[in-house]
Symmetry: C2
Subunit: 331 residues, 2 copies
DNA sequence: AGAAATAGCGCAAACGTTTGCGAAATGCTT
DNA sequence: AAGCATTTCGCAAACGTTTGCGCTATTTCT
């Protein structure tokens, strides 16, 4: 079964290819009568435009690229889900790529985007990315790039993030309000801008609002590491009354430690996390968390992309999604 | 900045476009000397082939489609991750689509695949899909389709699944070996072939190996429903000693009920689930589960796809990934 | 009624590749 | 030195669209 093309329709109807093309696009030059004929036949023959041909001719595809370090991630998969949803509504397809936090793969993926001439790219940097020149190259090729979550530190780029400073502050505020003052704070990779922002805001808030509080700051590399850090500190320092977890991964690691030590939440220890809200509900009592919504961030990123495409130059370069505290029973 | 094309290279070098094309593909007709010149210039000019043009000319893209009900799902996201990984290695891009369990969206997505002329499609049916004619249409258009996880019940299609019958039996066997005999078994959507298989194997195994056991079978629609079902049955029937959960969603629902009732695992109640292994490790003791690996299934699906593309007709139409019991402390 | 405007359509080029075929240049054979 | 094979390359068509321009009829205006 060969695909039906404009040519085939034109031959059946005895019209020219251009007429068919115009008829299907409701061009004013074509009479209503022929439009009707064409549209009917096109439907009957299951005509479906060849995306490659269109792309070749018009120089822009209806495809977006989206790259994350890993798809299997609570935050990113909701982000992806959100962007996919919007893309579909606008008739775009989404090519999804994961860098696996590997710079080489990241570059390969960028190449794929270029070869497929995606019209836009949603990019979350891998943790090791220092050189973003290949990302800048995308802009040269007129591929609009929206960075999200983990973004380059330089200015002049289009970025959407959670309001990371606010997030850090909200968490700190909640802890202070709960009258806790021996806090083990576990953050992620210290090189990432997202970590820096949250950590700075978090500790700064304590410094100004509750300078007497004891803050123990550590950086965990993964779930197991988080478990280890929690275990050692909890055993060494019996005064610790609260653990703050910068991410779901860290929260999961910490919970394992807490369960292993058979500590009761919130009597023996309080817990607060930054999360999209899924993991916290799995425990009892539910963990209090500062909400970061991949879903909302996805919507925002998409909005930015569309604004960018329509060349409305009044759009902000850097926008954020605000956050809020969701109270469980862990604090 | 305009893209460099074969034409541009040919003009600079004073050679024909065909020579450039052949040189870059290491065609024997071209001398080593010119090959070298061409390749060097191509690199210097950042030449990257235009995928649309190639696709238009050769009639096949280096793109796969992949459709799941939802990306935000422990099983599917590991499947996606796995397929993406393999695809990249083979130079394919992946267009990811989610049907949101909506038949209309499912069809729209199929249309996108057709318009983008994907060379293959990995498809997981939405739960409401009865009419698979639009999927069959894909095969007419020479788009190889591999169904996975939730698959059509008719024969003659290429399907990869977990060994669902085995999975059911393994679970039943483990329960019997643990000397449990009042089981609340929670399954998912009863219309899905995957549910039917697991349920049939599970209850059949009990009938033959332990006919005296009491089996209480229910079907949960979502997490909350699973919680409700567990709560009511546990309160009504104090004899229940084990809860079997067909999926992670159900497990999560059940765990909420258990935590709410402050039951101790495994003293007050035993739990066993079918899972990819992530959720079970979040609890303490860890939940015993029958492993279903989206990752492995992805690898298998990809292998099937490649075999299908290379037209080796000796490939099995239906293949499965075997499973095993992973012991936690919940049984 | 004749000129001018308009409606409706077709021609042909272009987007960037790939590839069968033919042509020129070179090497080899005797 | 003449014929032949081989090497090395170019021509041109094709993939399926879109679109500026031009060409006829037909309508409208004066």
């Amino acid at each position: 079964m060969t695909n039906t093309t404009l040519k085939k329709i034109s031959e059946v109807l005895g019209l020219s290819i251009s007429t068919i093309s115009r008829a299907l696009k409701n061009h004013p030059d074509i009479s209503e009568k022929t439009k009707k004929k064409v549209i009917e036949l096109a439907k009957a023959l299951d005509y479906e435009p060849n995306a490659s041909a269109i792309q070749l001719r018009t120089k822009h595809s209806k495809i977006f690229g989206l790259m994350v370090p890993s798809i299997s991630n609570f935050f990113y998969d909701s982000f992806i889900s959100s962007v996919e949803e919007e893309s579909r509504k606008e008739g775009f397809s989404l090519i999804i790529l994961q860098s696996s936090d590997d710079i080489e793969i990241e570059n390969e993926n960028l190449k794929l985007c270029r070869q497929n001439r995606v019209t836009g790219l949603f990019a979350c940097l891998s943790s090791g990315t220092k050189d973003i020149s290949s990302f800048l190259k995308m802009n040269d090729l007129d591929i609009k790039t929206i960075f999200f979550d983990i973004v380059p530190e330089i200015d002049g780029l289009n970025k959407v993030c959670m309001a990371d400073t606010r997030v850090g502050e909200i968490a700190a505020e909640a802890i202070i309000e709960a009258n806790k003052n021996h806090i083990l704070a576990l953050f992620g990779n210290a090189n990432l801008s997202i970590t820096k922002k949250r950590e700075f805001a978090f500790s700064q808030y304590f410094k100004t609002k509750s300078p007497a509080s004891k803050l123990l700051i550590e950086h965990a590399t993964d779930i197991e590491n988080a478990t280890q850090l929690a275990l050692t500190h909890l055993e060494k320092n019996k005064l610790i009354d609260t653990i703050f977890c910068m991410s779901d991964e860290i929260l999961m690691g910490v919970m394992k430690a807490i369960q292993k030590l058979k500590l009761k939440i919130p009597n023996d220890i309080s817990v607060i996390a930054i999360s999209n809200g899924f993991i916290p509900t799995l425990f009892y009592p539910q963990i209090t968390y500062v909400e970061t919504s991949g879903y909302k961030l996805g919507k925002l990123a998409f909005k930015q992309m569309m604004a960018n495409l329509s060349d409305s130059f009044d759009t902000e370069l850097e926008t954020t999604v605000d956050s809020k505290l969701v109270k469980g029973g862990s604090l």
